[in-house]
Every structure is written in C-alpha cells, then in structure tokens.
Amino acid sequence: MEEILKMRNLKAYYFTREGVIRAVDNVSLSISRGELLGLVGESGSGKSSLGLSIVRLIPPPGRIVDGEIIFRKMDLLKLPEKELRNIRGKHIGMIFQDPLTSLDPLRKIGDQLIETIIVHTRVNKEEAKEIALRALERVGIAPDRFDDYPHQLSGGMRQRVMIAMATMLNPDLLIADEPTTALDVIVQSRIMDLLSDLKRSMKMAILLITHDLALVIERSDRVAVMYAGELCEVGSSEKVSQEPLHPYTQLLLESIPNVEKPRTKLIYIPGSPPDMMNPPAGCRFWPRCPKVMNMCKSIPPRPLELDGRMVRCHLYNGGLESGG
C-alpha cells in the first residue's frame, strides 16, 4: 500500500516556565492509503500533541523542534503557512473529541459546511450545497437538518456532522482525536462503522487517536502504542493483541476488564506515568516495568524492527526469541 504520510524523528516540545515537556520525542510513523492506524496512549502520553503536530497546530508554548512530516511528497514542516492552510481541511481532515467546541453555535450547520467548501475549492454556492448535502447523506443525516443549529442536534449527530465536514472534500488523511469518547457505546459503534466505510470506499487513511485500547484493537489495521512521548510498539492489530511485545502493551492488555469474561484476574501497572518534565533516564517505562534489567535504567532502548513490527525494548536486542 502507498504510504500517504511519513513522520521521521518528529520532536514537539512544550517550553513552559517550569521546564521543557518532551510531549513528542523522536517519533517515526507512517500511514498508508486505506489504512486505519490506531494511536493509543494514556492521558499525557503525547498522542494528541502528535496529532496536532502533523497539521502544525500545536499550541504555544509548544513547538515542533525537529523531524520531518512527508505528506504527498511535501515536507509539511517546510511549507509556508498559507499553503498549509489549504492542506488542512482539504487534504487532511480533522475531528476532535468535543464537536460542540468545533462547530459555531450561532450558525446553521449547512452554512458552516458550505463555507468550508467555498474556502477550499472553486465551486459556487449551488455546487457547494450539493457537496454538503451529499456529505451529510453519507453520514446518515437527513437533508431537513441542513438549516438546524448545532444545539438542535444530539451529541452523536453533531459528531457525524463533524465527520461530514472533515471528509466532504475527500481528504487523503483523516485525523480523528478521541472522536467517540464523549458518546455512548451504541453511538460509538455506529460512528466507528462510518469511519470504516470511509476508509474502504474512499481509500482514506485514518489516524484514530484514543485512550481506549479495546476500541483500537477491534477497529484498526495497525496499532501504535505511545508512552511518555515515545512510541513503544507498532504492529498489526492482530499481532499486537495476540502477542504483545513491549511489557507496557502486555500489561495494558491485561489491565482492561473484558466484557466477555467473568472476573478474570486483572493485572495492574504499578506506579504512575512519569513526570514529563523529568522523565526517568534510560527506558521511560523502567520504574513500572516488571521485566526491568540493569541496562534499562541507564540506556534508552532504540526502536527495533522485528517481524514487520517495531518495539522499543532491551528485551529484544537479540531478536524475538530472546524476549518475553
């Protein structure tokens, strides 16, 4: 599959008065056309900063410090702001957790869709309305909702309007940050079906950012696990769930209750995620790791490519067999 986005050694730091937070630290990751990539991590892991960095929307005092983001053969980090603005919303769509804060409460949803289309394309108002109506139809919103204000819609419908807005210009990449976290499970499942359809029918690449490991594993083709600003494991959903390599992924999988199983013993991860101002030396996970070795406390592990997957852990320095 054709790679649509490729990040290399991306670093995005927040320069606060108290110190530097390395929210995204040396992340390399790519997404292919027609692929749903799930980026999973706990709060503070840097996953949202990573999503914002891709479109250079990381808020101050945050800044992208280093790396490259290749999208359609361009380095987004070198592009003038004006060109980037055209890419956002047209070639890269974005949806965020709370649709109420992303929609203008004082304007009809139809008008908001039309305006976005006119800003990005050369169509007239009639044509724009047609595109908008088609986009709403695709997400299951009836045409008579076109003149509704955001508050007249339910949470699930608002999120579907956001998806319509983010995808109506057929972007190559959709960044969806916790798109279903504010919604109930039945609506969540329907929104995820919708994203899967877009992925298949329009060959869209989707980056799904969430804290919900179960959701990511059920719905994505590939999973990237983020911990304390770094990716610790990347691989196909199937492999990561069946045979997780990184101790953090292993523990995370054992720590979530499974609705299909009665009270199986849950394992929990001791300690808390690190203070990002002063992350531990060596591997950032070592203070919580049950398989910690001496070298982990001083030498940061490098990403290792194994069997089509990436893992950042000293256990696998000698290859797959030596680990686990």
Binding site: E42, S43, S154, G156, M157, D184, V185, I186, V187, Q188, S189, H211, D212, L213, A214, L215, I217, E218, R219, S241, Q242, L251, L252, L253, S255, I256, P257, N258, V259, E260, K261, P262, R263, L266, I267, Y268, I269, S272, P273
Partner: protein
C-alpha cells in the same frame, strides 16, 4: 438473603425551567422524567451495578438512594426502615450508614484541606473520635486504601496527588465511618486506564474486609462485569432488565441489553461479533414514548409495544426483564 435496601416505585421528575412568558402562556407543566418508576431490592453484601447510557437516570437514582435529593414519589426502605421522609438529625445519623463516592476526584475533594483532615472530617461531624484516637483511625484508613506510608500522606494537599490517589482519598472518606452501603458513581471513569484495575481491586478488597454493600453506577459494561454480582440495566428512567451478572452477560434478554453488549469493543474477542443494530438515539426524557419506551428503536417491537408498557417479570431464575417478546 438479607435485604439491605428496597426501592418501591421511585420517581424523580425535575421541572423544566421556563421563562416567565412561557409560564403565562403554557398551561401544562413539563418534567424531565429522570427516574420514572423503579422498584428494586439490594441484598446485604452484594455489589449491584446500575448500568446504562448517559441520561438513563442511573446517577439520579444513586443520589435518591443516599437521600441527596428527594424523590417525587415512591418509598426507600433501608434496613427495614422507611427513610424516604427523614430530615435533620435523623438524616444525618443515616449518613453514617450510607456513603457516596463521586466520579470526579478533582472536584469532590476540598483543595484547601490536607487529606488527613478530609478523612477525619466525617468522624468529627458525627462526634465519633477525637485527639490521638481520631488520628489513629485516619492513619489506619489511609493505609487501608493503599496510601502508604500514611504519615507521608496525612499533611499533603490534593493537588500533589494523582487522579488515582485522589480517588483513594475519596474512598477513605467514605469508609472511615464504617458504612453498610456505599454508592459509587462512575468511580473509575476519570482514572487513567493503567490505574483503573487497582482501584476496582481496592474496592473489592474493602468490601470483603468491612462487609460492605455496593451500588456501583457505570456506563462501562466491562467494568460492571468485573465488579458486580448483579446487574440492573436502565433505559430512560426505568430498569429494563436485572439479574445475576453471569446470566445478564451470558444470556441477555432485553433487546436493549443485547444492543449494548454487542456494541462494546472487545480487545480479544472469543466469539464473532454479531452486532444488534438500533435505530436512532435515546429520545427526550421529557416526553418518553408511550407504551414501551424502547419501542421506537427496538428491532423486534410489535403492535402491543406501542400501546402498553411492559412490567418487569421473572424470565428465568432471578433474572427479570421488561419486554413482551421475551419468552
């Protein structure tokens, strides 16, 4: 089995706020029917999970049980005594026996009080201990909820604690009075994923140790399955199904429960997912649909569901469902 709590046809209708002009013009008063006729028995020593989507009334029901709000109608029987109309001193004494833990450990603790004092506070209010005895009880309670060594935590302010640690303080505050019943409203939904299991296990451990009864309110069915002995599923202010956890999860009877259960993402599924699809979204609780309130979204609804409201009835041993089409 020994009954600790019985709810008899509890209702809570919140009046809808209207402008002065609307009040002049409209004759009819509108109500949000948050809880609309719930009857339920809770047995001593069990964990009952109240599950449902946002707006189903589960949080309102929890607050009604601990008498933070008054029901519009119905009775609440606790330890064989009708507590529906308790006021003042009597209500205060009742609070020793039933406590509540809230969802947000950032909002439920006093930011200006060291946590030792916050845990001591309930004991002082009820005049149960003072001086060194009070301090000893607080230390022991901090230890019991895993805030060790307790000396290190006693004088610390909430801002220095993680979400998981704050929720442990909230739990300490709830159990320090040795209550019989604890209502826990989404106690882990704001806690980091990697720390949730430890809070759930702490609650299970404390339950054993103090012979507690829990009413555990959650939207997360996986969490409910982990913690609860019995499950009650709510939809639009009513219980549509309840029974032992194993029966409800292995053999869900109500079409709504089936839809909920098949919508949950499962990390490593044992069975092929067969999703039960629902039409539309949860209707407005101001005017719930006539007949069965679930019928507009129900995949198996028939003629009778539009006219009549189904009652909860026992479909199999101790497993109750409110649906005309479950045989």
């Amino acid at each position: 089995m020994d009954e600790i709590l019985r709810l008899i046809n509890i209702r809570k209708w919140f009046p809808v706020q209207k402008s002065f002009l609307e009040r002049l013009l409209a004759k009819e008063k509108l109500f949000v029917k948050a809880v609309d006729g719930v009857s339920l028995t809770v047995w001593r020593g069990e964990t009952l999970a109240l599950v449902g989507e946002s707006g189903c009334g589960k949080t309102t029901l929890g607050r009604l049980i601990v008498r933070l709000i008054d029901p519009t109608s119905g009775r609440i029987i606790f330890n064989g005594m009708d507590i529906t109309d308790l006021r003042g001193e009597e209500l205060r004494r009742l609070r020793r026996k039933m406590q509540i833990i809230f969802q947000d450990p950032y909002a439920s603790l006093n930011p200006r009080m060291p946590i030792g004092e916050q845990v001591a506070h309930p004991l002082k209010i009820h005049g149960l201990a003072q001086g060194s005895e009070l301090r000893d009880i607080v230390m022991k309670t901090l230890e019991q909820v895993g805030l060790t060594p307790p000396e290190k935590f006693y004088n610390v302010y909430p801002r220095a604690l993680s979400g998981g640690q704050r929720q442990r303080v909230a739990i300490a505050r709830a159990i320090v009075l040795k209550p019989e019943l604890v209502v826990a409203d989404e106690p882990v939904s704001m806690i980091d994923v990697s720390l949730r299991a430890s809070i759930l296990d702490l609650m299970l451990m404390l339950k054993q140790e103090f012979n507690l009864t829990y009413i555990f309110i959650t939207h997360d069915l996986a969490v409910a399955r982990y913690i609860a002995d019995r499950i009650a599923v709510m939809y639009l202010g009513k219980i549509v199904e309840h029974g032992p956890s194993e029966l409800v999860f292995e053999n869900p009877l109500h079409p709504y429960t089936k839809a909920l259960l098949t919508s949950i993402p499962v990390p490593r599924p044992l069975k092929e997912p067969k999703r039960v699809e629902l039409k539309g979204e949860v209707p407005n609780p101001i005017n719930p649909p006539l007949g069965c309130r679930f019928h507009p979204r129900c995949p198996i609804a028939g003629e009778i569901c539009r006219r009549e409201e189904p009652e909860l009835r026992e479909a199999e041993n101790d497993h109750y469902v409110a649906c005309f089409y479950v045989t």
